[in-house]
Symmetry: C2
Subunit: 261 residues, 2 copies
DNA sequence: TGTTGATGGTTCATTATTTGAACCGTTGGT
DNA sequence: ACCAACGGTTCAAATAATGAACCATCAACA
């Protein structure tokens, strides 16, 4: 791996729970030498990608990422274009809508919208990383990935997050087959107990999913009516987002969704 | 300069006007060897910072920057925290409000809000880079920078963007003195003919400005009443944003702003 | 149809940069 | 007063970056 890769990997050590990282801790986490870490960090600091803060001189992500993200959004209005649809979806279903994108081997939540309808709702966080096997969004995406990539992701450890999390690759494969047949994924309590969710894969061009659109709600609120409402609204919203992105869903999937509405 | 710096500099070659850049062009723009460019780009691509797209295999900013920006925002809610204030400011003044942050030697617009009041308004773009000498936001920030940094920025070329752009460092220095005395900056037609704007510096801690809050409007709408309204609203909004950021404006500046309201 | 010039991408000997153990100066706790 | 942890620095040794020359491909053009 080249020097640049090492530097960029350092950026991935920042998480929401660990927004500030000191030099030594960074070296420990990355496995790199402290001096190497220091050089990489100062180099990234000079470009504003990270910044040093406070008396402890800890590092955190810098303001340059905001500019880059704004630039990316004007070039490819992924988040901004989907935001209104997401809000409408939350309003129409009365539940929490969220949009996740695939980034290599990670599934990252990049936007979400709440509904004011109910006091209890499923809360989300930006930049959350969702497990492939235990969320409806993860299953929706992974089901519509080329077989090789799907198997690569299934070959990784599948942690049992709750009592009902499916951790057997074989069983999971069967579920993904079902997802592919229905055009959407549904999970109940596999990620967080009491939370249920429905998700549809999102496409740009070709048959490969690039992300997912989901609605999550407290499982105790689940009724056939609510579910069919959510499926219906999701199908419309997903089609709309794909359209806004200038993409196209595979004909087979589009047909499945039409039946939902 | 290290390898990492070179790679990150490649990211800065992407602009709104040039969202897609091919390999050869990138080498040309950066002055690096084509092979070097290619290696740096593929390495950044493997981390999602850039992506390759289309038949021409051109490069553009990748989805990873969205995740990083979202993470930065949860750690340091710069944009999201200021957004409501910005919208209120646009509503109260009836004009275009915008927020810019200093990133090293650049001043970058990271958010803005329009008012529906008038059909004609000053339009803005995310990730715009503002010239220090020709915008009220630039002057507001540069006036409240340590002398050494101010002089470094004044020593660079100061392009004449319109007929009335001040390009003489000496004259500019005098203007900045005035800005410091008044606590805000005002320019008319120095960036774009027909556009007028007022801006206040933003502080985090200490006397060094980290950004600016501005309101821009068509010069032909300018009246003493509008100006005093804008100054008043700006003072309140700037104080609010600084407070939301957990910062503090220098006592002298805070006093000047209080007189405006 | 063959030529030209552009593109993205690859190779490999040369070269310059990265690397890391050991070091320094501070700080905070015991 | 001590110790351990912190951020940061040094410099010879090791490794990774570099770039001229090279393909393959494509589009325009004669």
């Amino acid at each position: 791996m080249g020097t640049v890769g090492k530097a960029l990997d350092l950026l991935n050590l920042f998480t929401r729970q660990r927004a500030l990282v000191g030099l030594s801790e960074m070296a420990r986490l990355s496995g790199l030498n402290k001096a190497t870490c220091h050089r990489l960090l100062t180099e990234m600091e000079s470009r504003g990608l990270v910044e040093q803060v406070g008396a402890a001189r800890e590092y955190r992500l810098g303001p340059a990422v905001l500019r880059l993200a704004a630039l990316r959004e004007t070039a490819v209005p992924t988040r901004d274009a989907a935001m209104p649809v997401l809000q409408a979806l939350a309003r129409a279903t009365g539940e929490t809508a969220h949009l996740s994108l695939r980034e290599g081997d990670k599934l990252v939540t990049i936007a979400f919208a709440y509904s004011p309808t109910h006091a209890t709702k499923v809360m989300m966080e930006d930049a959350d990383i969702l497990p492939w096997h235990a969320t409806s969004s993860g299953q929706a995406v992974i089901a519509f990935l080329p077989e090789a990539e799907r198997e690569a992701l299934l070959a990784r450890p599948l942690p049992r997050l709750t009592d009902v999390t499916e951790t057997d690759p074989g069983q999971l494969r069967a579920r993904l087959d079902a997802v592919r047949l229905r055009g959407f994924a549904e999970t109940t309590g596999t990620f967080e107990t009491d939370a249920q969710s429905v998700a549809l894969p999102l496409f740009l061009n070709g048959d490969e999913a690039v992300g997912a659109l989901g609605v999550a709600f407290p499982a105790n609120r689940s009724t056939p009516d609510l579910l069919s409402c959510i499926r219906r609204e999701l199908a419309g919203a997903a089609a709309e987002i794909i359209d806004l992105w200038g993409g196209q869903s595979p004909p087979g999937v589009a047909l499945l969704w039409q039946r939902l509405t």
